[in-house]
Every structure is written in C-alpha cells, then in structure tokens.
C-alpha cells in the first residue's frame, strides 16, 4: 500500500512528479525535500533573463503559494538529504533527521563541475538562483570577463555579458559543436577554441587572469566556469544503488524496488532509441516527472520520449528534437545556414535520430515527426518526401 511518497529534489522534475501524483489521485502523504531555501523555481531563465536583468526574480517561481498549498505536500525547503537507507526505506537529512517512505523519487539534479584552482574570489559557477543574482551584481561592475566552457550555458552567459557591453572571451579546449555556424566570432565575443585552461592567475586572492594551455594569458576581472555538471548523487554513495552516470534506472525509470529517478540525475534506457541516456534538459524534467509518477502508481510503462532542448543566444533560437551522436550523419533539410535560418537532420545507422532548427522553430517542430517515426535516412534524399512534410 502506497501511503508515503518522498521526493528528494524540489525543482522541476520533483515538483512535476508531485503534481502528477496528486492529479492521478494519490492521496497519501507527499514530502518534497529541497536543499535550497526557495520554493521550486525554474532554471533556464537564470542564464538568460535573470542574468540580463530583464526579469524580476519572482518570475522564475514555478508555482505560486496557492498552487503549492493546494498540492498538500510537506515542503522541506532548505533541508539537505545526506543519505539513503534503502533497506530501512528512509531518507537521512542533514542535522540527524530521517523521513520514511513507501516510494522514493530521486530528483536531485546536477552540480556544476569546478576547475582546479578556480576556488577564487571573482570566479563564478552558475546553477542556482543565488549564483545568478550574485553573478549579475558583479557583471554590473563592468568587469573584463572570461567564460570557460563553450557549451550552451557558457555561450548563453557570454551572450548576456556581451549584450551588457562587456569585453568577453569564451574559452574551450574543444571546437564547439556548432563552430562551423558560429564562425570565428559570435556577436563580438572573442573565441579561444581548441585551447584549454592551464591555470587561474590570482592577485591578492582574486582572479586576475586565465592562462591557457598554449601559454597565452587573458586578463580577467571575472571568470565564469561553465564546464558542465555532474549528477548530484553524493548523498547516495552508500545506498547500494548503481551510480555510473547518475542514478541508473531501467526503462521504467526505476532504480530499485520502490525507488525511481527523474530529471537531470536519472539515467535510464530509452527504448525509442535503444540507448541508455541521461538528459539535462528542461523538457525532460517535466516529462520524466510525469512518467515516474505514473509508474509509481502502477502504469508499468517504458519512458520513451523524443528529447527536446533549446538555447537562446543573441537573436538566435536553436531548438532540437532527438539525439545527436558524434558520429551522426548530417544534412540540411531546409533553409540556408548562410542566412542563419535553417533546419537540419542527424542520422545514424540509416535512421533519422534528431532534427535541429536554427531560427526555425516552426519548421523543426514539424520535422520532429521524422524522429518520432524513426524515418529512414533515405527519406531525406527524396525531396518529394521531405517537402510536403516541411510545408505542412
């Protein structure tokens, strides 16, 4: 009998799972544990509107107080889960408390990776609302900025800093995935690609410059480290759960008897692609939270989504459905990269696995069907098959 559900992680995935349980009629106790002091909030705007100052802080709240109280959940905010006693079905809390459960949802997300030597005044990570507000306050002092890591987060931060008129250098040891389209400069940001950071140079305890692997030195008043994130599973080390890349689950998002995982922290087998995956995408947090709630109530359904993600940088909207393996085939389906408006397909083993839209949101949403249908790659070489779809 399911009477006590505990959800660890009070962000998008955890909150969505809680709401889905209630929507499906679960009327037992519901405990939502979050280590930040804030009610559940949304993260994608942090590196965009919050950093740019175009949104007030209140706008990132995921639910208003009324909706939260209607949820009928015990919200343990500012509480950190420190351990899991799977045999005793208890989540252990910092300070010595414990919460018992019949079913547990792990939704603790990810923690940003730090670089050695970056633990300095003037060096920032960006994951939480507090991180974003602090970083914004410092950007207002008009520092010379180095962003380390040219993934989506680093590129978004560089874009915001550049739009504030700051001098910005974006450093990455690898050519960025879309280097060809980005070219040598993205909207005035200096790019230093193919060169890693060898060390942070400090002066009086503050970061003063970044030295690259090729020996060159870039002066910096402020450094943002955006080199990816790791699943927040430290608290599960002694739980007995398999933690290879996140909480390892089956296709039902179940990690062990009565234990499920959702969101950035969850690794599961997606039968649509026949592959194990772990996604740090906003959309996945919602979809997986809903799927986990259903399975916890007995649905016994595989979670087989077509992943979706987006990024906004300057006036460019990049949106993608599916998966984009490094060895994938690539083909422009419509539009023209030269005009910064196109849609492209990615494929592997003769099947379309992903579609990407560059300033083409409507087009890429239509092309998504190719991924849903696992369309043969040859579909793309037959213009008469693609065009009606693209024009639909």
């Amino acid at each position: 009998m399911l009477r006590r559900v505990v959800i660890v992680g009070a962000s998008a995935a955890g909150l969505t799972a809680a709401e889905a349980l209630r929507r499906r009629g679960y009327d037992g106790t519901l405990t939502l544990i979050g280590d930040e002091p804030y009610p559940p909030y949304d993260r994608p705007p942090l590196s965009k509107q919050i950093l740019a100052g175009t949104w007030e802080q209140e706008k990132v709240v995921l639910r208003n107080n009324e909706a939260l109280s209607e949820l009928g959940a015990d919200l343990l905010l500012g509480h950190t889960a420190t351990g899991l006693d799977a045999a005793g079905r208890r989540v252990l809390l910092a300070g010595g408390g414990a919460v018992g459960y019949d079913a547990l949802v792990i939704a603790t997300g990810v923690t940003p990776r730090q670089l050695p030597g970056a633990d300095l005044a003037g060096a920032h990570l960006l994951r939480t609302l507090d991180d974003a507000l602090t970083l914004r306050a410092h950007l207002l002092d008009r520092p010379k900025v180095v962003v380390v890591g040219a993934g989506f987060l680093g590129a978004e931060v560089a874009a915001v800093a550049r739009e504030m008129g700051l001098e910005v250098t974006l450093v990455d040891p690898l050519p960025v995935p879309m280097h060809r389209q980005f070219g040598e400069r993205i909207g005035g940001v200096s790019l230093r690609l193919g060169t890693g950071v060898s060390r942070f140079i400090q002066a009086a305890g503050r970061v003063a410059a970044v030295e690259l692997a090729d020996g060159s030195v870039i002066d910096a008043d402020l450094v943002v480290v955006a080199v990816g994130a790791a699943p927040a599973t430290g608290w599960l080390t002694r739980s007995g759960l398999s933690l290879v890349d996140g909480v390892e689950c089956d296709s039902r998002c179940q990690a062990a008897s009565g234990i499920y995982a959702a969101g950035d922290v969850a690794s599961w087998c997606n039968p649509h692609f026949g592959a194990r995956m772990r996604l740090e995408h906003r959309m996945n947090a919602t979809e997986q939270g809903i799927a986990v709630a259903g399975n916890l109530l007995g649905d016994d359904l595989a979670f087989a989504p077509v992943p979706f993600f987006w990024t906004d940088q300057y006036d460019t909207k990049i949106q993608a459905y599916g998966i984009f393996p490094p060895d994938a085939e690539f083909q422009i389906v419509s539009g023209d990269p030269g005009e910064r408006r196109f849609a492209a397909a990615y494929g592997r083993h003769g099947t379309v696995t992903g579609v990407l839209g560059w300033n083409s949101p409507r087009e890429v949403r239509r092309l998504r069907q190719l991924v849903v249908d696992r369309a043969p790659w040859t579909t793309l070489t037959t213009p008469s098959l693609v065009s009606p779809l693209a024009a639909r």
Binding site: T16, D42, P44, W310, K317, Q319, P361, R362, V364, R365
Partner: protein
Amino acid sequence: MKVIIDTDRCISAGQCVLAAPEVFDQRDEDGLVVLLNPSPPADVAVDVKQAATLCPALAITVED
C-alpha cells in the same frame, strides 16, 4: 475554460501545438505561440491542460 498565454515567457518550443493543435499555433517568423481560441470547448480541455503542463517555459495558464 479560459486560456491565457504569456508571450514574454514563450520560448517557441511548440509543445502546445503538439498537444492541442486546435487551440495553439506558432508564428512563422519566430515560432512564438499564437492562441487560436482563448475559450476552447470542453472536448479539448484535457489536451489544453496537457499543453500547459508540458510548456517548458510556463507560458500557458488555464482557468476553469
């Protein structure tokens, strides 16, 4: 049922169009949401609520 959209939040994901094509569309130029029917009939209520739930930008509010 009343549907309210906040285009300032919209990130052009198009999830609403996938969930409830009778009620939502996207602008051609930038993909922003277009509300086709602010008072949709009851037979699409489930789809509209699904659209609001799935919207990754929380741009859709549904009032009963």
